[in-house]
């Protein structure tokens, strides 16, 4: 393929691309997670953040505890009905583009707490992009989930189009 555009003049010292792709590329490598860590799964996230598994290799070590600064919500732990309005509020306070990872059996489905107090999956109240399994997920699984989200948001896939049109109505949306 013949080289065209700026590259034809300046060689490989410049790259031309679409603005969207450039921004997506930048975002991919600097996701700022908000850890909604409520239970045992959050302890595994501590491992993800520490030296051995080192989430900074994926550019996501800037853990934010302010939803307004974060673009990736990681729900690690059991979410009870009492906790649900808080989770919803935090999700609502995050600005677009925002991504949600549901980590572990509890967040995904209530896990083995099938009882009067535990929400049977956080997708009852907020939309989820990636689910990861485990009770708790191993640190590698967290990283896998992160990479999946990076992949999802980097390319204009069908999923992104569908997501843009999505009309989510959870149990706490009046």
């Amino acid at each position: 393929m013949a080289v065209t555009g700026e590259e034809a003049i300046y060689g490989d010292s410049v790259i031309t691309t679409k603005l969207d792709s450039a921004i997506a590329w930048a975002r991919e490598s600097s996701m700022w997670p908000y850890i909604f860590g409520t239970a045992c799964c959050a302890i595994e996230f501590m491992s993800v953040a520490s030296s051995k598994f080192d989430i900074s290799r994926f550019g996501a070590e800037v853990v934010r505890f302010s939803p307004r600064q974060a673009d990736l919500l990681i729900i690690a732990g059991t979410v009870s009905y009492k906790q649900a309005p808080i989770l919803k509020k935090i999700y609502d306070q995050m600005t677009e583009p925002k991504w949600v990872m549901s980590a572990g059996a509890c967040a995904c489905s209530g896990g083995f707490y099938d009882n009067y107090t535990t929400m049977q999956g956080v997708d009852e109240i907020i939309p989820v992009d990636v689910y990861i399994s485990g009770c708790p997920p191993r640190p590698e699984a967290f990283l896998e989930g992160l990479m999946q989200i990076q992949k999802l948001q980097a390319k204009p896939t069908k999923y992104l189009k569908k997501r843009a049109k999505r009309e989510f109505k959870g149990r706490l949306d009046a």
């Binding site: 520490s50 505890f65 009492k82 309005p85 808080i86 083995f112 009882n115 107090t117 535990t118």
Partner: protein, 554 residues
């Protein structure tokens, strides 16, 4: 006075006594015990709903008080039967620790207390209707919560008592439940004047996930994985506490090898629990480097634990009557490696903080709780010992040959944040000492009880003879059958006295399980500890108590 009460069962081994008391006499009896007999330590208050019980009881409910005396050696169980409409006298004026426990009984069972300062729900949310631990409340009937409690109903009277009629000059702030320093899901709602806290209210229950109700439809062995998730920083200690209680109900004792393995793995769990607590504490102080020093040895321990149990965090290693399997070949070397890492991490951290003026200024004389107050509030474990009280279940009620190991009970003098941290550092050293001794004297032989109505038979017997097959089948489908009784027993877990009160109806599923979570009682103290302190110190006070939400809220 007590001799007038009908005396029921005398536990000879643990010197426990049980009395059935009339409801109207409960308060008098407890007052007498406290004032005349020095029963100063309220272990727990709980209730049982006998609606579906196999044999009829006088009345539908029972309220149960567990008390220990000054020596911590004698446990007394008081029980009174009552119906739903009868009202119990609150004992909050005798024991501060009773406040939250009584609220919990009200929340879960709907039993009312007279003269309680603030009888409102504690674990379930405000909009919840009904009382979930009643037998006629359906297990899976969830109820949506749409709004968070603003807690002003508690805050306003508090401020009023301190002379704040209007709130114009105050700033209200929520520390948690979603806050990096809230250690999980704890909420501290504070009123600030400048940076000083003038009023604080705690709300818990955000991680209430129905452990006790779930126990009521699982067999004893199926409950083991749930116990992992109480204090998930030291899962195995919770396994041990539960299995140990059930084994005593069955009247069996583990072979020595099994007991030693429990000691070794249990102490290792205590070490890694303390490591997380200290690491998080130091992060809260801004000393981030120490987080890596203290957390990384945990990774080595995780490796050992996953080799041994198949899981890093939620190990479920214990079973009723033993454990899933023996130690593996090469365990000793891995353990040595692990302990070396822990020692190095501790050494590195201590060399940074021990003589560090900033650390000392931040931690000393902050969040002070005196020994008497700590006892009155039901504290136990490292927190209580930091306040100078010499109580350790391993010493006062020795189990698993703890009386033959040479180790020190670590006590502090001030009861401040500094002491609570330093006690944990020293306890790590003592645990290492115990592990060393236990490894040196680890006996051979079997690690589980040989009775196959309790533990699984060998797979080769299951496949080759009918008896083995039947054993396996019965254990899987019906569970371990525990004789009809009520029993309380505890061990020294990482956070203190972790006890289980179990009511069995003779089947393979417990009728009622109540956990005595050590950090529940520490947590109930926090608001009193932080009032008058600076906001930054409140974070340290909370961290130093090592509140683990799974254990707190169950």
């Amino acid at each position: 006075m007590l001799s007038q009460c009908e005396k029921k069962i005398e536990f000879s081994k643990t010197k426990n006594s049980r009395y059935i008391v009339k409801l109207k006499d409960i308060k008098r009896a407890i007052k007498f015990l406290k004032q005349e007999k020095n029963y100063n330590f309220l272990v727990d208050i709980t209730a049982v709903d006998y609606l579906d019980f196999c044999e009829p009881k006088q009345k539908r409910f029972a309220i149960i008080y567990l008390l220990k005396d000054d020596s911590f050696d004698n446990l007394l169980v008081l029980k009174a039967y009552l119906n739903e409409d009868e009202i119990i006298d609150s004992i909050t004026d005798l024991y501060e620790g009773a406040n939250w426990s009584e609220r919990e009984v009200w929340d879960q069972y709907g039993l009312k207390f007279k003269n309680h300062p603030n009888l409102k729900r504690i674990l379930n949310h405000k909009e919840f209707v009904g009382h979930p631990l009643r037998k006629d409340y359906p297990m899976t009937k969830g109820q949506l919560c749409t709004k968070t409690d603003d807690l002003m109903d508690e805050m306003t009277p508090k401020l009023k008592a301190k002379g704040y009629e209007n709130h114009d000059d105050l700033m209200f702030l929520n520390l948690g439940p979603a806050h990096p320093a809230s250690h999980g899901t704890i909420r501290t709602f504070v009123a600030l004047e400048g940076e000083t806290i003038v009023g604080a209210v705690n709300e818990i229950g955000y991680l209430h996930r129905g452990f006790e109700k779930s126990c009521e439809n699982h067999t004893y062995n199926q409950i083991i994985p749930y116990t992992d998730r109480l204090n998930y920083c030291s899962a195995i200690l919770n396994n041990i506490a539960f299995a140990h209680t059930v084994e005593q109900m069955l009247g069996v004792e583990l072979p020595d090898r099994g007991q030693f393995i429990r000691v070794i793995i249990g102490e290792l769990s205590r070490i890694i629990d303390h490591l997380v607590c200290l690491a998080a504490n130091l992060v809260d102080m801004g000393a981030l480097t120490n987080y890596w020093y203290l957390y990384n040895p945990r990774e080595t321990a995780y490796q050992l634990l996953s080799k041994l149990t198949g899981a890093r965090l939620t190990n479920s290693y214990m079973r009723i009557g033993g454990m899933t399997h023996d130690l593996y070949d090469g365990f000793e070397d891995d353990l040595k490696e692990c302990i070396k890492d822990v020692e190095k991490g501790m050494h590195d951290t201590l060399s940074l903080i021990e003589h560090n003026r900033i650390f000392q200024d931040r931690a000393q004389n902050i969040g002070i709780v005196t020994g008497d107050e700590a006892i009155n509030r039901g504290w136990s474990g490292p927190n209580l010992r930091a306040s100078g009280v010499n109580y350790d279940v391993r010493v006062n009620h020795p189990y698993y040959h703890y009386d033959t190991f040479d180790f020190d009970v670590v006590v502090g003098s001030q009861g401040d944040v500094y002491d609570r941290m330093m006690v944990r550092f020293e306890e790590i050293r003592q645990s290492i000492k115990i592990i060393d001794q236990a490894m040196k004297t680890l006996p051979g032989g079997s690690y589980s009880v040989a009775d196959h109505s309790i533990t699984f038979p060998l797979k080769k017997n299951v496949y080759s003879n009918i008896e083995g097959l039947m054993n396996q089948f019965k254990l899987v489908s019906e569970g371990v059958k525990v004789p009809n009784q009520e029993f309380y027993s505890s061990i020294e877990a990482a956070n203190g006295e972790l006890g289980f009160y179990i009511v069995s109806d003779g089947s393979g599923t417990p009728y009622r399980v109540k956990v005595r979570p050590p950090c529940f009682f520490s947590m109930a103290t926090l608001s009193a500890m932080v009032e008058g302190e600076m906001i930054a110190d409140a974070v340290l006070s909370l961290g130093s108590l090592n509140i683990i939400a799974g254990e707190l809220d169950r």
